[in-house]
């Protein structure tokens, strides 16, 4: 498969009154055509900031993409000017956000919001755009599309609004769909509908998908490749089966152990991760997970490990072998 997107050493910081927030700290990954990549991590781990950087949607100031490259089909998106970037956004790479209510314009009908993208990016006439919008609304499963065309966002339920967002994202047939926690605000039954919809459309349109979430369950059923982030770093990366069957980073291991499962009876106490995620204003000098890690050794507190291959397609950033508990 051909590489569609390559992110190299991406570093994003926010310059706030309290100091510099190290949101994304030199992350690299690739996305191939038609591939689904899951990025998991807790709030503040830099998962959203990393894809917003790819889309060049980081507000500057206070944000700043300090270093790195984002190569999409051979060109570095970080070198493009704003008007060139607008041709990429929506047309080549589209994004669906967590909260559809704040990302839709409340005073415009949803039909107008979808057709606008078609007129701007695809050069369609009003009439063509209207027809295509109806097709899109049908495709994402909104019943009676022609009568809903003139409705405003508040007239839709949360799940339906997220469908509108997906219709809008797919309007120009992007090659990459970035979904930033699109189902977090939804109920599980509606979440299942949306995931099912994205899977179907992905397979039909051959899009690549980057799905960001804190829910390890969603990623298990959706992604082929998984990236685990902590404090702005990628701590583990691999094929979905390797990550879940054989997690090698103490953070991934602890996270998976702390989750109760709906399909299993549990009598034991939940495993916990002590402490709190680190303050991104002042990261410790060594591994950011060291203060909470059950496998910590002296070296962890001094040197931050780099992401290294431990098995084919499986990489971790850790000094310790969790199998033996000793330094690798």
């Amino acid at each position: 498969m051909a590489t569609l997107l390559e992110v190299r050493d991406l570093t994003t910081r926010f310059h706030t009154l309290d100091g510099v927030v190290h949101a994304v700290n030199g992350i690299s990954y690739t996305l191939e055509e038609g591939q689904t990549l899951g990025i998991v991590g807790e709030s503040g781990c830099g998962k959203s900031a990393s894809v917003l950087s790819v889309m060049r949607l980081i507000p500057e100031p206070p944000g700043k993409i300090a270093a790195g490259q984002v190569i999409y089909r051979g060109q570095d998106l970080l070198k493009l000017n704003e008007s060139q970037m607008q041709h990429i956004r929506g047309k080549e790479i589209a994004m669906v956000f967590q909260d559809p209510m704040t990302s839709l314009n409340p005073v415009l009908t949803i039909g107008r919001q979808i057709s606008e993208a078609l007129i701007v990016h695809m050069g369609m006439t009003q009439k063509q755009a209207y027809q295509r919008t109806l097709e899109l609304l049908n495709m994402v499963g909104i019943p009676q599309a022609d009568s809903r065309y003139g409705d405003y966002p508040h007239q839709f339920s949360g799940g339906m609004r997220q469908r509108v967002m997906i219709a809008m994202a797919l309007a120009c047939m992007p090659s990459i769909l970035i979904a930033d926690e699109p189902t977090t605000a939804l109920d599980v039954t509606i979440q299942a509908q949306i995931i099912d919809l994205v899977k179907t459309l992905r397979d039909r349109l051959g899009m690549a998908v980057i799905w960001i979430t804190h829910d390890l369950g969603i990623i298990a059923g959706l992604a082929e490749k998984v990236i685990v982030m902590y404090a702005g770093f990628i701590v583990e990366r691999g094929d979905v089966d390797d990550i879940y069957d054989d997690p090698r980073h103490p953070y991934t291991l602890a996270l998976l152990k702390s989750l109760p499962r709906v399909d299993r009876s549990s009598k034991e106490r939940l495993a916990t991760i002590p402490g709190l995620p680190p303050d991104l204003l002042s990261l410790p000098p060594g591994c950011p997970f060291a203060p909470r890690c059950a496998y910590v050794i002296e070296r962890c507190r001094q040197e931050n490990p780099r992401l290294e291959i431990v098995d084919s397609h499986h990489e971790i950033a850790c000094w310790v072998d969790v199998g033996t508990g000793r330094e690798r």
Binding site: E42, S43, S157, G159, M160, D187, V188, T189, I190, Q191, A192, Q193, I195, D196, H214, D215, L216, G217, I218, I219, A220, G221, V240, D241, Y244, D245, A254, L255, L256, S258, L259, P260, R261, V262, D263, R264, S265, S266, R269, L270, A271, T272, I273, P274, L276, P277, R292
Partner: protein
């Protein structure tokens, strides 16, 4: 854990919120039937889970049980005393024994109060301690919820979400209650913090002999923490059973769909699973569907389902269900 002694008995509880029209002369034009006739017992020292989608009435049910909302109909017995008939001082005396933990640890603590004042408020309201005793009790409570007792003069903004939830828990147990309604206590917290708070709730239950009504939408966590689970849909309970019975043998089509929709953090299991995808959204509780309220989304619905409301009955071993097809 439960010794089959009923602590809370809920009988035919209803809570309807009126919809009014008109400015000077208001007249009622309808009602939101948030809770529409629920009946169950909560045994002493057990954790009863109440699950369902947003808008199904689970939070309203919790609040109505505590008489934070006065019920439209039905009764709530606490230790044999009918709460719905109580007013003023009598009700306040009972409230000392029933507390609540809220979902949002940012909105449920007054930002202008020190945590000493927040946690000691139940002690002042119920006149349980002198000022000196209050300080000692607050320190003791902070230790119980595993926070540093030296923090008593700090303000809520100085704490993380998980720590704030511990403060909310300390406040809830301050008056030595028997019964606590936990309304989505962990859903605002990060994954790695959720397990800490859940373990704390379990430890406190053992130490203090607490009884919980655990309201949540995270069905995986509910399976872990609860002894029995009740499933709500549009203001009514559709199924109730011991947790492993409910999760391994769900009888109601809604319970089956709900459980099948929960993702499992295991790719091999996910590939094999059969997901029941429900069509559409939850209907409005202002005008709920006739007969069985789930019939509009139920794949197995028959003519009877839209005409007649299914009876709430026990199918054996404490497993209750309301469905014509079971």
């Amino acid at each position: 854990m439960s010794d089959n002694q009923v602590l809370v008995r809920v009988e035919g509880l209803k809570k309807h919120f009126p919809i009014t029209r008109g400015i000077l002369i208001q007249r009622q034009v309808g009602a939101v039937r948030a809770v529409d006739g629920i009946t169950f017992d909560i045994y002493r020292r057990e954790t009863l889970g109440l699950v369902g989608e947003s808008g199904c009435g689970k939070t309203t049910a919790g609040r109505t049980i505590l008489q934070l909302y006065r019920p439209t109909a039905g009764r709530v017995f606490f230790n044999g005393v009918d709460l719905t008939g109580l007013k003023g001082n009598e009700l306040r005396r009972m409230r000392q024994r029933m507390q609540m933990i809220f979902q949002d640890p940012y909105a449920s603590l007054n930002p202008r109060m020190t945590i000493a004042r927040i946690i000691s408020e139940p002690l002042r309201v119920h006149k349980l301690a002198t000022p000196q005793e209050q300080i000692e009790r607050v320190q003791e409570l902070l230790r119980l919820v595993r926070l540093n007792p030296r923090f008593i003069n700090r303000y809520p903004h100085e704490f993380s979400g998980g720590q704030r939830q511990r403060i909310g828990i300390a406040r809830a147990i301050a008056s030595n209650p028997d019964f606590i309604v936990c309304d989505e206590p962990i859903s605002a917290l990060d994954v790695s913090i959720q397990a800490q708070v859940v373990n704390l709730l379990e430890d406190l239950q053992d130490q203090l002999g607490l009884t919980y009504l655990f309201i949540a939408h995270d069905l995986s966590m509910v399976r872990h923490i609860c002894d029995r689970v009740a499933v709500m849909y549009l203001g009514q309970i559709v199924e109730l059973a011991e947790k492993d019975e409910l999760y391994d043998h769900p009888l109601h089509p809604y319970t089956q769909a709900l459980l099948s929709a929960v993702p499992v953090p295991d790719p091999k299991v996910e590939r094999r699973r059969n997901r029941i995808i429900l069509e559409g959204d939850v209907p409005s509780p202002i005008n709920p569907p006739s007969g069985c309220r789930f019939h509009t989304r139920c794949a197995r619905a028959q003519e009877l389902c839209s005409q007649q409301e299914p009876a709430w009955r026990e199918v054996g071993g404490g497993h209750f269900v309301a469905c014509h097809l079971v």
